[in-house]
């Protein structure tokens, strides 16, 4: 029996042990919340062999501390404050930085409050075996718990708590190691408060605590050089506090204090939202806020006030008469900022004058020309939360003061991020010369009001630009795809038989066969793309004696192998999805499962989870049942093979008959779906053919071909997903894992509707998905078959993306899937590569009484948390996949350019018009590009046209080009001379030659 006790809470200490606060609910009600806290004396200090604390084998801190630091010969422990983790995480993570660390609960909570990504990194850090980190729950220990005093900010309260814990630790060491009579007093190790905050240090020193800044600490280490580069840029409060800073002129307005911001938001005077940078124009950004239908526009550096894409910011909206329209121009920071000097120091204001003048000019000239509709315009007055991560960059070689490759002197250089949404970054490094031509990873530390650019520190080099490894890794980093190999703890969760695992012989005693149907005789086959290794679905169909048809969808039984809450499950949950790049697949589950044990290969017995319907010949469902099963697939077809087989009239075997049956039913199902208003969406999909795994250059790029059999498989997967969704929602109404696609707000379509009407005289009815589908069908241009696809692609971009959700967390009326026109939907059919499917499998297994539902899947908050991660991973994976295709399209273009001597020409559609250029879409390559003109030309924003005057067009007449026009472009890949960043450059060939414009 476990020890059950009552914790007594002394009444006299009610001040410390009770906490009252007020909370506002989503519906605006104010709630009084009373919480209590039990203070205790058994919270361990984590020092091995401590005589006062309950000893435990996982005490992380060595008894004598760390004795290798020069400043602390008697040994020490480091106790960092919150800011150390917020600003120096790269350093703390480095395997060169290994002091024993005392991590306070207060600090962890503050980090979580300030930055979720950093909190996750911190949690991973605590788990690392080689780091000696002890979490001390100071808020629960009676001597170290504190409460906020009247008038004290939360920040000050936490700082005080951290100092109190430091003092306690030092006392604790003293008390637990008293001097022994007749012996010299023992040399006690020191617990050192590590903080970047000078004021906090002063207070600590006054209280007799030992404290140190990160830089001082690192400088005192035995091998400081490598670590010094990892150090975040110096805080202005630190080390050289005066001269330079004082003399520097602020370039940006100061932020309003957080308290005032929050009050302003509450009062409805300020608005909070995510900052979106504009990829076409670095001097413009926007913040969507619920109060306005259009996002709040921010024009110019000062108004964007140091926000970086993704930050949560607070904007103030200007008076309506100052509202402006977004510029119609492409403004590129490389050209405008070409001459700015990275070595800023005190002279930024003067040298920068030129930049300011130039940018002002750009803005002014735009102002005159802004023609589109005005929208709320404002400025950023504060930041709620920075969402900075590590960014992949190139070093701008012109910003180097010395390119002497052996020089190890520190210099300040510019780093240009790969993403066009980010500003140029200022970086201090000792390794600048060796980093030229490499892809590097940097972390932004801060952005002062006196500095034009954010300041960052170097994390590591990824490799040479355009080398396959560097490009791949940088892509994974940019989209935050976890790609480390699976660790031992995870691999230990796999069956011990490994590749030799087989379904055991059928017997009543075998756990594998318990409650499983034997479907091994069933004529089941799989249909997939060529070379598919992770076959997670297979199908069958046969006539029933009553004239109906039995159809089965058999999905790999992944949840048999991935058990809830073990290390493999947690890893899969945090990866969320398998990521497909052109030349690499980053698996969600170890490949033993994906490509073998859970792959429904032909002629092998495999465990499956089957959905079996009885259908009428008209594809009406008579009934559906779900069962765990054992199957042995009879064939693995490619789409093409299945198609050929189906179309060959000489074949009458069971497999072929099955495929034909499936095909007829699928066509009826599809017709039914379309009639219900499902959308036929399109996205530019191209296929990259790689010559071999060694060469980096793809041999060809072509558009994906879709066959009837693609649609066959798709229809039945949709059907299975819908049937499963119904079942799990019925059984677990609070926590079913579902997927939905919200209907897009009508305003999203306004622009496209206007363009279609003005350019083609076509109307787009967006009142429902059915109406949209119908009017999309009518968007035809008899001369241009690709036009319809183009409109579909553009319409798809106006929509919201689908998302996973927990059924108990949203209103029943928002369950619908807009694109599929289904009232309910989930993902069940790809558990090898999507984590949501694994959850759906577990819920379905519980719903049919095969296993009880794991406790975690009863918890709404747990399901919500997991799905939040999965949704994010899913989005990132899509973007990473697209970026990978783009990279290879770029390589293919480069190769073609060399072979065809710069004459790569393709047809393209105009999709946007700018005052100084055109946005075009090359459907054959699935890429978008910009055609830029050096001079402004006649531009009609209302009618989406530009007109090239006869004089420039070197022809007899003016040439007008409009959105949806088909043009011919010449495509080149040019490398930026300074940063080596490759970019696609397009020039117009037809109807006019724009190379000289």
């Amino acid at each position: 029996m476990v020890d059950i006790t009552i914790r007594k809470r002394p009444r006299t200490e009610a001040v410390v042990t009770q906490r009252k606060f007020f909370k506002k609910t989503a519906r605006g009600k104010v709630i009084k919340v009373l919480r209590e806290r039990y203070l205790r004396d058994d919270v361990g200090c984590g020092i091995q062999g401590c005589s006062a604390c309950p000893g435990s084998s996982d005490d992380a801190l060595p008894m004598a501390g760390d004795q290798r630091h020069q400043l602390f010969p008697h040994g020490h422990f480091v106790l960092p404050d919150t800011n150390v983790f917020l600003s120096q995480m790269d350093l703390v993570e480095s395997n060169l930085f290994m002091p024993p660390i005392i991590l306070l609960q207060t600090v962890i909570e503050e980090v979580r409050h300030r930055s979720l990504p950093l909190y996750n990194r911190l949690k991973a850090l605590i788990k690392m075996d080689d780091k000696r980190i002890w979490v001390f729950y100071n808020e629960y220990r009676s001597e170290t718990a504190i409460i906020r005093e009247e008038g004290e900010t939360p920040n000050d309260r936490n700082d005080r708590g951290i100092r109190k814990a430091t003092a306690w630790y030092n006392d604790h060491l003293r008390v637990t190691r008293p001097p022994i009579r007749g012996q010299p007093p023992p040399n006690l190790p020191t617990v050192v408060l590590m903080t970047e905050d000078a004021a906090n240090r002063q207070k600590a020193e006054k209280a007799g605590l030992s404290c140190i800044s990160v830089r001082k600490y690192v400088e005192g280490m035995k091998e400081p050089t490598q670590l010094l580069d990892l150090l975040a840029a110096e805080g202005s409060t630190d080390i050289e506090p005066t001269r330079a800073v004082a003399g520097r002129q602020a370039l940006y307005p100061d932020y309003i204090p957080t308290g005032t911001l929050l009050a302003g938001i509450k009062a409805g005077e300020l608005y909070q939202g995510h900052f979106n940078a504009n990829q076409y124009n670095y001097l413009e950004g926007s913040v969507p806020v619920p109060a306005f239908t259009k996002p709040v526009l921010l024009i110019g550096r000062e108004n964007m006030n140091r926000a970086v894409h993704g930050d949560v910011v607070v904007v103030e909206v200007l008076d309506e008469k100052e509202w402006k329209a977004p510029a119609d121009e492409v403004v590129d920071q490389e050209s405008t900022l070409k001459n700015d000097d990275a070595e800023d120091s005190g002279e930024e204001a003067e040298e920068g004058d030129q930049v300011i003048r130039k940018e002002k000019q750009v803005l002014l000239s735009e102002d005159v020309k802004r023609t589109s509709e005005k929208q709320p315009t404002g400025r950023i007055v504060g930041i709620i939360k920075r969402n900075w991560r590590a960014y992949v960059c190139h070093i701008d070689s012109t910003s180097l003061t010395t390119s002497n490759a052996t020089s190890l002197s520190q210099q300040t250089v510019f780093a240009t991020p790969v993403s066009r949404l980010l500003p140029r970054i200022r970086l201090r490094t000792r390794q600048a010369p060796t980093l030229i031509g490499q892809k590097i990873l940097v972390t932004i530390d801060r952005w002062e009001a006196t500095s034009r650019y954010p300041e960052a520190h170097f994390v590591r080099a990824l490799g040479k630009v355009e080398s396959k490894e560097a490009e791949q890794e940088s892509l994974l980093l940019e989209f935050e795809v976890p790609y480390r190999p699976f660790g031992k703890a995870i691999l230990d969760c796999l069956p011990v038989e490994g590749e030799q695992w087989v379904v055991p012989p059928k017997s009543a005693s075998s756990p594998e066969w318990k409650d499983r149907e034997d479907l091994r005789e069933m004529i089941i086959c799989s249909i997939d793309p060529p070379n598919c290794q992770d076959i997670d679905d297979a199908l069958h169909a046969r006539h029933l004696p009553n004239g109906n048809i039995e159809v089965g969808v058999h999905i790999a039984d992944v949840s048999h192998f991935v058990l809830p809450d073990n290390p493999m499950d947690s890893e899969a949950a945090s990866r969320g999805t398998t990521v497909y790049l052109v030349d690499k697949r980053i698996d969600m589950l170890p490949s033993l499962l994906g490509t073998n044990l859970c792959s429904l290969r032909p002629f092998v017995e495999r465990l499956a989870f089957s959905t079996i319907w009885e259908m009428t010949p008209d594809a009406e469902i008579v009934n559906v049942r779900f069962t765990k099963s054992v199957i042995a697939s009879k064939a693995a077809f490619t789409y093409e093979e299945a198609q050929i087989r189906k179309d060959d009239p000489n074949l009458k075997d069971d497999l072929t008959v099955g495929i034909r049956l499936l095909n007829t039913l699928a066509q009826k199902l599809k017709a039914g779906r379309m009639a219900a208003g499902a959308l036929n969406l399109a996205s530019p999909e191209v296929k990259i053919y790689l010559d071999s795994t060694e060469s980096t250059e793809p041999i060809d790029v072509e558009q994906k071909e879709l066959r009837e059999t693609n649609s066959l498989v798709e229809e039945f997967m949709l059907l299975a997903n819908i049937s499963v969704a119904r079942k799990i929602q019925e059984t677990f109404p609070q926590t079913a894992v579902l997927r939905r696609h919200m209907p897009p707000p009508r305003t999203n379509f306004e622009k496209l509707q206007d363009i279609l009407l003005k350019r083609k005289g076509l109307t787009l009815d967006v009142s429902s998905s059915g109406a949209l589908a119908a009017s999309l069908d009518k968007c035809l241009d008899p001369d241009e078959p690709a036009f319809n696809t183009l409109v579909r692609i553009m319409a798809t971009r106006c929509m919201l993306s689908a998302e996973y959700f927990c059924s108990g967390s949203v209103g029943r009326d928002t369950f619908g899937h807009y694109g599929l026109a289904s009232p309910i939907y989930t993902h069940f059919t790809s558990p090898i590569r999507r984590y949501a499917d694994v959850l759906a499998h577990r819920q379905l297994a519980a719903a049919i009484g095969y296993t009880p539902l794991h406790a975690t899947l009863h918890s709404k908050s747990h399901v919500e948390r997991v799905l939040d991660v999965v949704n994010r991973r899913h989005r990132m994976a899509q973007m990473a996949g697209r970026a990978s295709v783009e990279f290879y399209v770029g390589l293919a273009l480069k190769g073609r350019n060399e072979r065809e001597k710069g004459q790569v020409r393709e047809d393209a559609f105009v999709i946007r018009t700018f005052r100084n250029g055109l946005g075009v879409f090359v459907s054959k390559l699935g890429i978008e590009g910009l055609v830029m003109f050096k001079r402004d030309i006649q531009f009609d924003a209302d009618n989406y046209t530009i007109t090239v005057p006869a004089s420039m067009a070197s022809g007899a007449k003016d040439v007008t080009i409009a959105v949806f026009d088909k043009v011919t472009v010449n495509i080149e890949v040019e490398k930026d001379k300074n940063t080596q960043r490759g970019r696609v450059k397009m020039t117009l060939v037809q109807p006019v030659d724009s190379s000289s414009m």
């Binding site: 059950i4 009373l34 975690t856 009863h858 908050s861």
Partner: protein
């Protein structure tokens, strides 16, 4: 986003600093309240209820009289200020009626009602403050108030809530924990080990149920100890106040005294 409070952190602490099997501070006040024949104010952490017992007395309404035993009438009233959200719960509120019915059916087999045919025992439960474990507080309070009123019971009824966070069982949940974990309330009669009540409003994995059920039963015995010593203190205080009778000493004698008194009626 889920809630930002960790129900059980990696160090094994719950959000209020307790460990899994630690119950909240429990206080019991058995002093006289108004004209009640017996009353008790019980707190578990920040949950506080006042239970007053009137009777046994003559049944007021004929329709409620039972010819061979006493009728137990339970009414629950939730003070508007008891939760953070000020909200008046009327007597007819379904949840409150359910709570009253649960208390009634828990005590019907425990109170020796057959000793008082055609009479009525009124139990009024006033919820003063709520922070999880409301039913447990009501049941423990009712037991104590009945004892205090001198109404014979077969045994104490001691209730505890248990929950399962992911896979870890926890006892005596706060409101925050109750909202986030599947939970059960178990009431036991410590002497016989009989379970008189198990309620569950959320789903719970069967495998976990057994464990938490056993734990809650054991915790009931711990609560019993607390209740017994409060009764003992109250009895000895009364005895001392009356200035007569045998002085009640510490230890088992007093223990038996309190227990036996109940059986004798």
């Amino acid at each position: 986003m889920g809630s930002r409070v960790e129900i059980l952190n990696e160090g094994g602490f719950r959000s209020d600093g307790r460990r899994q099997y630690e119950l909240r501070d429990m206080t019991i006040d058995l002093s006289q309240q108004g004209s009640a024949d017996g009353s008790a104010v019980v707190t578990h952490g920040l949950t506080q209820v006042l239970v007053s017992v009137f009777g046994p007395r003559e049944a007021k309404m004929r329709s409620q009289t039972i010819h061979d035993r006493a009728n137990i009438n339970v009414e629950v009233n939730v003070a508007a200020f008891s939760t953070g959200e000020r909200r008046r719960r009327t007597r007819g509120d379904k949840r409150i009626l359910e709570l009253a019915a649960t208390i009634k059916s828990t005590f019907e087999p425990v109170v020796q009602t057959n000793l008082y045919p055609r009479s009525q025992i009124d139990v009024f439960v006033q919820v003063l403050q709520q922070d999880g474990g409301l039913l447990q507080a009501c049941i423990n309070g009712t037991t104590l108030a009945l004892v205090n009123a001198g109404i014979p019971l077969l045994d104490f009824v001691c209730a505890v809530t248990g929950g399962v966070h992911e896979t870890a069982p926890m006892l005596d949940l706060t409101l925050l924990e109750e909202n986030d974990t599947p939970n059960v309330t178990v009431a036991v009669m410590p002497k016989t080990g009989k379970v008189t009540l198990v309620t569950m409003e959320t789903r719970l994995h069967v495998d976990r149920f057994e464990k938490i059920f056993r734990l809650a039963g054991d915790a009931g015995k711990v609560i019993h100890g607390e209740m017994k010593s409060a009764v003992k203190t109250r009895t000895s205080a009364l005895v001392t106040a009356m200035g007569s009778g045998p002085r009640v000493g510490a230890g088992d004698a007093a223990d038996r005294d309190a227990d036996e008194r109940m059986n004798e009626y």
